[in-house]
């Protein structure tokens, strides 16, 4: 009797397992064929506010923890800055670097105010990749707002943070520039040296600039801007800053490590550039 019950239970489980596997496969096929759009739209209308709420709560708690943790940090920072001030009074070379950096930032600011040609859609960041394998954001705007695959995505301050990857009617995913699939043609602001900015997050660092001509003048702290090559992204958008330049005697090209100018994981909203490729 017990054996029979056990057998029935196992049969029932097996049927359920097979049924749910088939349903999942059917959902995948329907989703790939964009036939689940209306259902997804209805579900998203319910879950998006919940996601935004969860995100707001996380941001609030994060800010609170950040403020607590920064109490010690500010003490350390204060001590460190005193050392820096002493060093600056004795080292004129550092002053030159500061002037150059200041100039670059001033130009960057000017650039931001000089770009009324860029039009975009403001969207909220409502999540990321639950599997942690890709550097993506989910935003609460999609094709209904004119968003298309490949469009550039900027931080509210105008720094490029990624490109639109997948689009549904009321949602889209942003492939961040730090993801290994991201490739953006760039130039340095100071010397107009071309290169390709590649994401390196999966490999343990942030960004890498490749295909820099061997004799090009590229230095630490150089700002990188989109070059507009290929017409995919608008030209002249700030994207990253050079950190370390690599060159050896054998290679015909230089490469450089670069750092993003925005902490992408803490972005609350982004601007999707909808007039892509405009100079």
């Amino acid at each position: 009797m017990k054996q029979k019950e056990r057998s029935l239970s196992w049969t029932r489980t097996l049927y359920l397992l097979v049924a749910l596997v088939l349903v999942s496969l059917a959902l995948i096929l329907l989703s790939q064929g964009k036939q689940l759009g209306p259902v997804e739209g209805a579900v998203n209308a319910v879950v998006t506010p919940v996601q935004q709420f969860a995100r707001d709560v996380t941001t609030g708690i994060g800010s609170w923890i950040d403020a607590l943790s920064r109490a010690h940090e500010l003490e350390d920072e204060n001590r460190r800055l005193r050392g820096v001030v002493e060093a600056l009074t004795t080292e004129n070379a550092s002053k030159e670097a500061a002037i150059r950096e200041n100039e670059q930032l001033r130009q960057a600011l000017k650039f931001q105010t000089d770009r009324p040609d860029i039009t975009g859609v403001l969207a909220n960041n409502i999540g990321g990749d639950p599997s942690s394998q890709r550097e993506i954001l989910t935003i609460d705007r999609g094709s209904a707002y004119g968003i298309k695959q490949g469009m550039a995505v900027l931080s509210p301050g105008g720094v490029m943070v990624g490109t639109i990857d997948e689009v549904k009617q009321d949602r889209a995913t942003v492939l961040l520039i730090t993801d290994q699939e991201s490739r953006v043609p760039v130039t340095t602001q100071r010397t107009q040296t071309p290169g390709i900015l590649e994401g390196m997050w999966q490999h343990g660092s942030a960004l890498r600039v490749t295909h820099i001509p061997r004799d090009a003048d590229v230095a630490k702290d150089d700002l990188l801007l989109t070059s507009g090559l290929g017409g995919t992204f608008p030209r002249g958008i700030i994207i990253a800053q050079v950190d370390v330049v690599h060159q050896d005697d054998v290679q015909t090209e230089k490469s450089a490590e670069a750092l993003p100018l925005v902490e992408t994981y803490s972005l609350e909203s982004v601007l999707v550039v909808t007039n892509e490729g405009t100079p």
Partner: protein, 168 residues
């Protein structure tokens, strides 16, 4: 159990897709939905775990945007429940080690299948880096959290569950 599970799974999926990517800016993160499915499988039954896997996966699919087709996580987590049910056999009668090994293996299994799906969708996947920086740390974190999840599931199972085990 399934109704209680739906609420727990929704919260876990919300944390996984919204809170963790923002709160933990590194790739080493636990996977709460995987953890729950394995814990249910060991504490309750494969039958319950398959349902939890499907519902939890569907919630992850709906909350994580259009990065993967709907049904991807659901399919993987249903298969994961089947894998985790092997932990029910427990020939060593070791209540501590078996859940840890099972959740570790299941988490790696989840990430390997997700990488397979990414490849199938045409994305480039850094297999070794993903294993070393995402899958293995995630599996270790899940194994650390497993005693808490397993105890909680045993507690929940005794109150609202059926406690019917499928023997292998």
């Amino acid at each position: 159990m399934v109704y209680v599970g739906a609420i727990i799974l929704f919260l876990a999926a919300l944390v996984q897709s919204v809170v963790l990517p923002q709160a933990v800016p590194i790739s080493a993160r636990p996977h709460f939905v995987v953890l729950l499915v394995v814990a249910v499988c060991l504490a309750e039954s494969l039958y319950e775990a398959v349902i939890w896997g499907f519902v939890g996966g569907l919630m992850l699919d709906l909350l994580s945007g259009p990065a993967f087709p709907i049904g991807t996580n659901a399919l993987i987590l249903v298969l994961l429940a089947l894998l985790a049910s092997m932990g029910q056999a427990d020939p060593f009668h070791n209540l501590l080690l078996v859940p840890l090994v099972t959740v570790f293996t299941a988490t790696v299994f989840y990430h390997v299948l997700m990488m397979g799906v990414s490849l199938a969708l045409g994305h480039s996947v850094a297999l070794l880096d993903n294993m070393l920086r995402v899958a293995l740390p995630g599996a270790i974190l899940n194994a650390i959290l497993m005693p808490v999840a397993y105890s909680a599931m045993l507690w929940l199972s005794e109150r609202v569950g059926r406690r019917v085990r499928v023997e292998w």
